[in-house]
């Protein structure tokens, strides 16, 4: 398991999937004021929601690199021959993917919040929301990556699959950035994220098994 996890982290670091999402996230944060205008009160009010949409779209970027290269090159077959269950492979991929997706995104949220002039308490709630919500997003990305592995030009299909399922994360994550009623939003965000993380190894494992035929 630890060898698999280390391999995932190395692939994420060398393949760009650890760099692209935070860069994309920052780019959205930099573009948003151009579209909305420099009104800092308006930016502070809408910025939290905008950053959550950016996080959601950033979660889509690694979807083609997560499972398909391993299926195509036979890595999944070799792991299966060694008796590793698809579920434990999926669990290692989930842990590796979150480690290379969640913390970099949380780091990028700090300059992004400065670009949108978010007040400090809102940044704190945004970071808390990302800490709780990014495991759910990583789990969704993994499941969609496993479901679409073996298909051609999966980018658009992956978006259609992932974005509707990510609505609870978006609703409660963006709700958490509002000052009022943030306690309830945090609990619901944690529940949605936990559910996705709990399902992901089994759903992704079953999808990897099905893709072998």
């Amino acid at each position: 398991m630890s060898a698999l996890l280390l391999r995932e982290l190395r692939l994420a670091a060398t393949g760009g999937s650890a760099i692209l999402p935070p860069v994309f996230f920052l780019l959205v944060a930099a573009l948003f004021p151009f579209a909305i205008g420099p009104d800092s009160a308006l930016l502070a009010r809408t910025g939290g929601g905008a950053l959550w949409v950016a996080a959601l779209l950033a979660a889509l970027l690694p979807v083609e690199r997560l499972v398909e290269p391993d299926r195509a090159s036979g890595v999944l077959d070799q792991l299966a021959v060694r008796g590793l269950s698809e579920e434990s492979v999926a669990l290692a991929k989930l842990a590796g993917h979150w480690l290379s997706f969640g913390p970099p995104l949380m780091f990028a949220a700090m300059p992004a919040a400065a670009l949108l002039k978010l007040p400090a308490p809102m940044l704190a709630r945004l970071e808390l929301g990302l800490l709780v919500g990014t495991p759910g997003l990583a789990a969704l990305t993994l499941v969609v990556a496993a479901l679409t592995s073996g298909l051609r030009s999966t980018g658009a299909l992956a978006g259609l699959l992932l974005l509707p399922l990510a609505v609870p994360i978006l609703v409660f994550g963006a709700g958490l950035t509002e000052a009022s009623g943030s306690a309830g939003a945090l609990k619901l965000l944690a529940a949605a994220s936990l559910l996705l993380v709990a399902i992901a190894p089994f759903a992704a494992g079953a999808a990897m098994r099905a893709a072998r035929d």
């Binding site: 060898a3 391999r7 090159s73 036979g74 070799q78 299966a80 021959v81 008796g83 035929d213």
Partner: protein, 187 residues
């Protein structure tokens, strides 16, 4: 104790029956050579034996550990060959150096996998099987892309593996020296 036992195995791919009622048993030191035209189900039989494909009918019993070499290289292209093989050796709890030397790859340990030629890739996939320490080898077209020296090294490794109590199931459309191997003709 058979290392591989197939009983009444049938394979259906894409709605077509490729073979049925196939019986095969491999004892320690035994070998079987699967032959047949393209599309006869040679690779499917190897994958069924490896447990990667479910047989449409019949029973498959396999040694606790097996090693597979098929068309999938399964080595990270950016890594040096030694480290890429080392990843699998760590999972198997073995050392790849001896197997790399046996397949004539000792001088290539520092070369990235993406720079290797077709034949060198095949040798690397076979070196992973050699290093695995598994008693059952499942080889799909192992001689594809190998030069004369590579094929001689492969045949020597197969003979040594069988002498050490291992068994081999190989599918090949090229002549492959497997003395005393059972012939499984498909198609």
């Amino acid at each position: 104790m058979s290392l591989l036992e197939l009983r009444g195995v049938a394979c259906i791919r894409g709605g077509r029956l490729l073979f049925e009622a196939l019986d095969l048993a491999l004892e320690p030191g035994g070998a079987a050579l699967v032959a047949g035209p393209n599309g006869a189900g040679k690779s499917s039989l190897i994958r069924i034996a490896a447990g990667l494909l479910a047989a449409a009918a019949g029973k498959v019993k396999r040694a606790s550990r097996s090693a597979l070499a098929d068309e999938g290289l399964a080595l990270d292209p950016k890594l040096a060959l030694g480290r890429a093989l080392g990843f699998w050796s760590r999972l198997d709890g073995t050392d790849p150096a001896e197997a790399m030397a046996a397949m004539g790859l000792a001088g290539l340990a520092g070369v990235p996998v993406r720079m290797l030629s077709t034949g060198q890739r095949k040798r690397a996939a076979l070196a992973r099987v050699l290093a695995s320490g598994a008693p059952l080898w499942l080889l799909d077209e192992p001689a594809n892309g190998l030069d004369g020296d590579g094929q001689a090294r492969l045949e020597a490794a197969m003979a040594a593996h069988r002498a050490g109590g291992g068994a081999i199931l190989a599918a090949s459309h090229q002549p492959l020296a497997l003395p005393g191997a059972a012939l499984v003709a498909l198609g």
